[in-house]
Every structure is written in structure tokens, then in C-alpha cells.
Amino acid sequence: MAAIDLIARISMWIVVGAVAVSVASQIGLFISAVVELRRIRLRDRHQLWRRMLASPLAPKITILVPAYNEEVAIGEAVGQLLSLTYPNLEVVVVNDGSRDDTMGELERTFALAPVLPVFRKMVDTKPVRQLYRSPIDERLVVVDKDNGGKADALNAALNVASGDLVCAIDADTIVAPDALQQMVAPFLASRRTVAVGGTIRLVNNASWKMNRVDVLHAPRKPIVGAQAVEYARSFLVGRLAWNPIGGNIIISGAFGVFRRSSLIDVGGYEHSSIGEDMELIVRLRRAAYEAGEPARVEFTPDPVAFTEAPESIRTLARQRNRWFRGLLDVLMRHRRMMLNPRYGSAGMLAMPYFLIVEAFAPIMEVVGLVTLGVLVAGGWLPPSDLMPLGIAYLASIAASYLVLILDDLVFATYQSTRDRLILSVHVLFEQLVFRPMTTIWRLWGLQLFLRGRTEWGAQQRRGFSTPSPSTT
């Protein structure tokens, strides 16, 4: 009995410890995020950089769009990119050997004409079949190439790009009209800035006007609602808070702007990494530290892009286990940075944080929960002894509500009481159902990672202009 009691106590404190580490780090990051938001608001109040960023002399940005089996949404997505208000723009779409009619859709929509595929190959990629230009819009370049994965497609786009800055997005990302102006500002403010990310919102239940996102509504489906809560927390707190600490090591693959020269200097995206977006940022930072000129990776809190969240459990599970494998892969590849003062805040704070809070804690949590479940079910542990666990979960729920309050104060993302009530319920779902689910998917990812599996898996697209039944 004494042994079981000891196991019960250890399991309990493992779970409570895991949740407590998560909550404590969230609260710490929350405070840092509030301070950073105040700093940014104070700096940018009344300042619009309107004239400067409306000038044709503004730095040229090339948007890199990797597309694989995106025939449903590609035409509309590229059209929206070309209608952005940024004055000095180029769009490079890479058809990464799609099996569907992505290329045909692009050819029809933009009347593409083939040109001889001659460009300077600065980063190695799979063979390029053909290069196309559009007589309708000279800013559009389309690269048709053999399939090589997202990183390879982005590298091919990088070879063709001519902008000083490049913006990597997913083919299904909807970019806000003035997003590029906001993302360029940190590059103008410091030469050390090599990458800038921004907040991404979910559009699964949005109102559209003139082909643009008009009003965001709280998603009705719990599985999407939970992701909306998670996105708000991870962007507003998880990323913004690292700005003042200088520890940003993630820019979302769905939308990020980079200095092209820095990207080429480090050899572009890593083909063999499954978390190529995070890996790139860590490599950029690592190279800069090793060159003795620490780079800045900034996060701008304003919502700059919108994307569609997976609505099926199966797709979501694949996405999450891929993300987790990507995290483990990056931590493993760059383990030399861990707790190494040479790599500044990235090595001393960010890497250990991701190892403990993002990688270890969820695994410890699920192991502890399973053990506790067995002990309670077997009658070895009275349910009343689970009180610390309850308190830890309640604190975690309260922390999520705090983030939503901050989001409402600053961005007014959801503007009706009905939406807020729905989100309140989603918070509970996220903590009590979604979070354990993601932990299981992470365990699945862990075992795939240990077996050396690095493939992506497909995601079904609906296309943005196809309203879901709940779309207003």
C-alpha cells in the first residue's frame, strides 16, 4: 500500500508540476506581453508611416507562395495577394509538383505565358520544369517544379525572388491589406532585424466583404473554437512576450517576412527538417550569434494574416503531431545552443523554455494523468486527493480567460457578447478536452520522431470563398 501511495503522490505532483510550470510560464509571459504591448502602442500611437510606405521607393517585398494540391483556393489567394496595397511588390508562386490542377488553375486565371527558366540558383532545389510570367500582372511569377516539399518550394521561390525582403506564406493564407506595411516597419527601424512575424487569426467563421475578411466571429465548432483560443494565447502571449527578452525563435510558416540576404546566407530553408519555419529562425539566430552580430527576430502584435483551421480531428491530429516532431527536431539539431551563453537569450531562455514547457511538460502531464486515472479507477486513490490537480487546471483556465480579456482590450477581435459567450465555453473545452487530445497527438508525434518519420501528411482545403454553413 505504501508503494502505491508513493506512486500516487509522485504522479500527482508530476501532473500538478507540469500544469504549474505551464501556468507559471504563461503568467510570466503574459506580464511580459502586457509590458511589450504598452511599449509598442506608445511608440506607434499617432504614427502611421503612411507616406513612407506608400512610396514606390519602399523596399521591395517578394511574397513566396508554395502550393501543393491547392487548386480550390490558389486562384483567389494569389489574386488577393496581388491586390495588397503595398507599393513595391512581387509574388512568386511555386507549384510544387501538385497532383491536382493547381498549375492549370493558375494558367487559366492569370493567362500565364512560359518563359525560359533562367535564374541564379543560390539555394539548391529539385529541378524547375518551367517558369511563367503573367501578362495580366507583371508582378506575378509562377515556378513549376518537381515535388520536393514545402521547404524546397520556398527555396525555389527564393532563387527567383528579386525583393530585398521576402514574405513566406502558405497558399491558403489571407493577408490583411496593410499587413506588409506593418511588417516592414521593424526592418526599417533596425538593420539587425532579420525576420518579423505577426498575429494570425482563424477565419473558419468570418464575414466577408469585397472578398476580404470583414468581421471575425467565434467559431461554432468546439474543435475550431479551441484552436482560436489557443492561437490567441500563443500569438498574443507566447510570441509577443519574447520580444523584450529577445528570445523569439518561432515565426509562423503561414506568414513571416525575412531579409532575403540573411536567408540566402544561411542556405535557405532546410529540406530535411519537418519544422522548417522554426528551424530557419533558430538557424538565422544561431548564425548571427556565431558571426558575433546578434540578429533581431521581431513579432508585431497586429493581426496581419488569416488562415483556415483544420476542422477534422484526423487532419488536426496530423498537424499537431507534425508540429511536435518539428519542435523535437529543432531542439535536437540545435542542442548545442541549449544553455550556452554564447547564444544569448535564445540559448539561455528560449531553447530551455521550449524543451521544458513545450516538449517535456505535456508528456509528463499525460504520463501522470494516466497513472492517476488507473489509481483512482482501481480504488487506490480517493478522488478527493485530486484537489491539487483541480486547482492547477482551474488556474490554467483562468489564465486563458485573462489572455482573451487582453485580446479584447487591445484588438477587439470578437465584438459581440454572443461571440464572447461562445468563446468562454470554448476555453473550457480547450482546457478539458482539447489539451489532453493534443497531448496524445504529441505522444504519437514523439514515437514517430523516435522512429525517424519526417513526412508531412495532407490537409484538406475548402477554399475561402466557399462559405461554411455557419458563415454569416
Binding site: M387, A395, Y401
Partner: protein
């Protein structure tokens, strides 16, 4: 059933409290945003009347503005200032002065905190004409404050500070350079003397930025300075100077030389410039670039010929039978785009 432990009840109460707060704060925010919108609409309406020369409303508007917190009014006035000019701007400045908002703007301009000074820099154009505070922040120790100040300058102020703006073209951050470029272009002919002198004597990194300004300011006084950089060792400067050449009529010889430059970007710029200058006598030279090894040069040559009209089209047709694959391909594509050639790809 045992009573729940106090600690758990407290945690539950805190959680429910934050959930309720989320909805309650949201309701409060909805109300305050609605109120702010209503207030803003009223102030806007009043300001619009005053700016549209309804002087009778000026006193009432000033009184209304003074009643609200500066943090509310100043952004409204600033947004309006970005869209008004001339007499309306003069009336807006008078209004700012009579509502005592200038005091708040000055306190920002003179603040010890750079972020507040950055705000002040964006607001300083609301101060009266000739007020030294309008341009004082061009010499601020913080680069972003200097950049904000340059960006917000009126054209008359930019002309008066042209020399300082030219110095900013070699500022430590790009924001300052871009802002200075914008302000110099905005100043137009008022900035030409300072710019011309810098192009003749300058040799630092700012020259590249100054050449870009010159390429957007068609003024003959800039020609000697631009010409100085046409044969320089830096290809980037040569390319920008080549584009700038297109703004004057007698630059044909210079353009011809640059069409055979060693650097592809200079050749591409020269092809652009030929079209811009309408130098049809160089059509054959541009036609030769259709077979250039660099795609960007071929593409620019094709576009340049397309923009030239009949002479350019004739040159393109000649190159449909070119021995060089690249030249044939580019000529076909450009003519396809113009709808002037039959090709299997288009027919399909």
C-alpha cells in the same frame, strides 16, 4: 458527500470570476467603443464644417476640442491633418492653437522619452508655420524620432531643411533614409540645390539614396551630379543613375553606353530608361538585349520595345527570326502579350 476543500472553491471562484470578467469587460468595452465612436463622429462633423470655411463654428469647435482629453482629440486631428492642405490646414492649425492642443504637442516634442518624442514628431506639423519645433526633431539623437520627423514634414519645411534631409540619406537606420527620400521628393524644386551639391561632392552610402531621389525629380540642375555617377565603379549607383538619365532629353549617348554595361542590372535599367526617354533611335540596340544572358535584361528589353510603339514592334518582329533562342522567345512573348503575333502556345 464531503464538502469541497476551501482551496478548490477559491480556485473555482477565481476561474468563474475571470470568465465573467471576460464577458463583462467585453460589454463595457463595447459600450465605451460605441460612445467613443459617437463622440468621434460629432467632433469630425464639427471639424469638417470648420475646415470647409464655416468660420462661425470655429469658436464652438475649439471649445469642444478643449473639453475632451488630448489623448482622444489629438489622434483625430492628426488623422485629419494627413488629408487636408492649404487653407484648410491653416484653419486646422488655428483650431489646434485655440484649443490649447499645441501645448500638449510641444510637451511631446520636448519629452525626455524617445517614444513620446516620436509621437511629437508626427504631430509637429500641427504647430504654426515657422515654429522651430516643427523641424527640431530632425536632429534628435534617436534615429526613429529623426525618421518620424522627416516623414511628417510639410513640403515648405522640407525645402527649408533640405541640407539636413540630404545628410539623413546616410542615416544609421533605413527608416531615416526612406523618410528623407520621401521628404526631398515632397519638397520638389526646393530641395534641388542641396541635392545637386551632394551628388557632385558626396561619396558615402547616401549617394545611392540621393540618386533614387534624383530619378524622381526631373530637374536639369541635377544632371551634372547624376552624370558623375554614370561611369562610377559601383554598379548599383550606375543602374540608378541610368534610370535618372531618362529624365532629360539629351541623354541618348549615355544610355547607349549603359546598354552595353558589364552589369546586367545596369543594362536592364538602361533598357527601361530608353523607353522612358522615348529614345526610338536606340531601338536596335535594345533589340540586341533580347538575347542577353540575363533574364531580367531580356525582359526589360522586351517591355521597353513594347512601350516604344511601332518602332519597337518592328524591332521585335525582326527578332522573331533571331538565331538566338532567348531573343526569339522573348520577342514572341512580348508580341503575344501585345496580341500581335501568332504562336502555337497562344492558339492552344
Amino acid at each position: 458527500m464531503d464538502a469541497l476543500p476551501t482551496e478548490l472553491l477559491i480556485a473555482a471562484a477565481v476561474t468563474v470570476g475571470t470568465a465573467v470578467s471576460f464577458v463583462a469587460v467585453g460589454l463595457f468595452l463595447d459600450f465605451s467603443r460605441w460612445r467613443a465612436r459617437r463622440r468621434t463622429d460629432r467632433i469630425h462633423e464639427l471639424l469638417a464644417r470648420v475646415l470647409l470655411a464655416d468660420e462661425s463654428k470655429a469658436a464652438e469647435a475649439a471649445e469642444r476640442l478643449a473639453r475632451h482629453r488630448p489623448a482622444v482629440v489629438i489622434p483625430l486631428v492628426q488623422r485629419l491633418a494627413a488629408d487636408v492642405h492649404g487653407d484648410a490646414m491653416v484653419r486646422l492649425r488655428a483650431l489646434v492653437s485655440s484649443a490649447a492642443l499645441d501645448r500638449h504637442i510641444r510637451s511631446r516634442v520636448n519629452s525626455r522619452r524617445w517614444r513620446r518624442r516620436a509621437q511629437g514628431a508626427g504631430l509637429a506639423n500641427l504647430l504654426p508655420d515657422g515654429d522651430p519645433a516643427r523641424t527640431a526633431l530632425l536632429d534628435d539623437p534617436h534615429p526613429l524620432v529623426r525618421a518620424r520627423c522627416a516623414e511628417a514634414l510639410e513640403s515648405s519645411d522640407a525645402g527649408a531643411c533640405a541640407e539636413r534631409l540630404v545628410e539623413l540619406l546616410d542615416d544609421e537606420v533605413d527608416a531615416g533614409k526612406f523618410a528623407a527620400q520621401g521628404a526631398l521628393i515632397h519638397a520638389g524644386s526646393l530641395a534641388v540645390d542641396a541635392l545637386a551639391e551632394y551628388l557632385m561632392t558626396g561619396n558615402d552610402d547616401g549617394v545611392r539614396w540621393a540618386l533614387e531621389v534624383a530619378a524622381n525629380l526631373p530637374d536639369p540642375d541635377l544632371i551634372p551630379g547624376i552624370r558623375r555617377h554614370l561611369d562610377g565603379p559601383d554598379p548599383e549607383r550606375r543602374a540608378i543613375a541610368t534610370r535618372a538619365v531618362a529624365i532629360w532629353a539629351d541623354g541618348v549617348d549615355e544610355l547607349r553606353d549603359r546598354l552595353v554595361d558589364d552589369d546586367p542590372h545596369v543594362r536592364a535599367a538602361a533598357a527601361d530608361a530608353v523607353a522612358l526617354a522615348g529614345a526610338e533611335e536606340l531601338a536596335a540596340h535594345v533589340g540586341r538585349l533580347l538575347g542577353d544572358r540575363s533574364w531580367i535584361v531580356r525582359e526589360r528589353a522586351g517591355r521597353s520595345l513594347a512601350a516604344m510603339g511601332p518602332t519597337g514592334v518592328m524591332t521585335l518582329r525582326v527578332h522573331l527570326d533571331d538565331e538566338d533562342d532567348y531573343a526569339r522567345d522573348m520577342a514572341r512573348q512580348v508580341l503575344d502579350t501585345l496580341g500581335l503575333s501568332h504562336s502555337p502556345a497562344r492558339a492552344a
